[in-house]
Chain length 271, copies 2
DNA sequence: TGCTGTGAACTAGTTCACAGCT
DNA sequence: AGCTGTGAACTAGTTCACAGCA
């Protein structure tokens, strides 16, 4: 997979660490806000606070892009906005298609944050014939049949999948076959794609589960000082009920057992 | 901030690495799917493939939870489902409130993946009086005025913010004051919270920006071999237009310049 | 024989602390 | 004097590779 040079501090744009790339949009947003307030310069300290990171990390991140600051002064806001935008590729126009126009797809279509960052919604696509032609976010929904034509005509390279889990892989395959090389996946499934195609995943329920994990820890540790002995009564922020699935400490072979309820296709709405 | 023991391989549940916690929901989903197909056991190799990670990582992850596998055989699916659920705290009932019932809030309210994982939507809250009482996902929307009462009565400890950026911090403050200790933030803002409150952030446009970054790299490197000189013509997968903001290689003081359009409040819909 | 569980080696990311410019 | 830029130290996360058990 072309690992490139092992690692080098990168005098210029080569090899920006992934973690840094993930933070650039954060800096960009903070800088945009400053720019709108006509603030001419910021120190790493101020900008870091606005972006919610620490200043050493921010300076290190910027050092991968080049030396855009002025010692003793700080960073020129407008200049830095441009440099980061360029680095992220936002000075170009990126047409995207959104497939699956349920609640989530509609929310995405209406999302102002795309347009203002160089992304242009080229088409909204849904498999439901009843949706076809209906306007969503001021744009008619098109049928899945036209997917390939749309991708090719508009030279779309980024696709957003907001379909139910069951449809996601199929949609993904068609997008990729038509020329899409980056996919943002909201469906709760693992997508398999050929080499050279990027997939990023946003999973609404995973984030909640991670919060629940930490929340659970808090409940157990809250009362004591730090070393955390188990609390006797009910801890302050502890949740209400408890008990959902009785353990299955080691089943024999056995049947399915549970009735298999909402199961694993919890996507937002049919496409 | 109470770093705890520096690090220990963790014979039991103490100190599960954050990266591992973030993957547990992935494993859980894959296991649930297997469970529904009544598959009794899986090898680390199979499960890893289903979850989209490599098997060494999966085994290491599971080793932090304990030794739940059988050498030569694999893992008991039902048993592992239970163990991971328990570890994540999903065997409890977690009431959550969703604040901001625009398109996104509605999508979240309708999302089946919550209910099936121990999360219960306790209330939908919106600041718009016109929304109050309207049913969304079979549940009446309640007004922001009742926020504190709802949180306290239902002992809600997890809040989801799906308001526009401008309202997010204020909503957050009220949630926290009322007793919420975990927040899932969809608004494109940095929230500041007191110690002991967890915030996780999902940002729709950040993910796209990260994709754009990689997409841009692909376009530049595709034609040539590796060192990537600028391509003369238009590269294969390159996007259409180009040119958004002309550089400002070092402005003087100057005014705001750009007209300040959609700006930085690109949230999905008013709350 | 086949698979898990895990030390050990490696790689990525973060933080410290200070040299060097303005 | 003040703030950036960055080596160096540290911490977290991943991958390797194999011992050990079923």
């Amino acid at each position: 997979m072309a690992t490139g040079r092992t690692h080098r501090p990168a005098t210029r744009s080569r090899g920006i660490p992934e973690a840094t790339v993930a933070r650039l949009p954060l800096y960009l947003r903070a800088l945009t806000a400053l720019s709108e307030r006509s603030v001419p310069t910021v120190s790493s300290e101020e900008l870091a606070a606005a972006a919610g990171v620490n200043s050493a990390k921010l300076r290190k991140d910027f050092s991968y892009l080049g030396s855009y600051g002025t010692r003793g002064v700080g960073y020129d806001v407008e200049y830095l906005v441009y440099q980061i935008s360029r680095e992220l590729g936002l000075t170009q126009d990126w047409p995207v298609v959104i497939v699956g126009i349920g609640n989530l797809g509609a929310a995405l279509a209406n999302y102002g944050g795309f347009a203002s960052r160089g992304f242009r919604v080229a088409a909204l696509i849904d498999a439901d014939p009843a949706m076809a032609g209906k306007p969503v976010a001021g744009m008619p929904v098109q049928h899945t049949d036209d997917l390939e034509r749309i991708i090719e005509e508009d030279r779309v390279s980024i696709g957003v999948i907001a379909t139910p889990a069951g449809a996601a892989q199929q949609v993904c395959d068609r997008l990729v076959a038509a020329g899409v090389t980056s996919i943002l996946n909201f469906a709760p499934t693992v997508l398999s794609v050929p080499d050279g195609v990027d997939v990023r995943k946003v999973d609404l329920s995973i984030e909640l589960q991670i919060l629940a994990f930490h929340e659970q820890r808090k409940a157990g540790e809250e009362p004591g000082a730090d070393t955390a002995a188990a609390s006797a009564g009910e801890a302050a922020g502890a949740p209400a009920a408890a008990a959902v699935v009785p353990p299955a400490p080691r089943g024999t072979a056995g049947g399915s057992g549970r009735k298999g309820p909402d199961g694993d296709v919890p996507a937002v709405m049919p496409a």
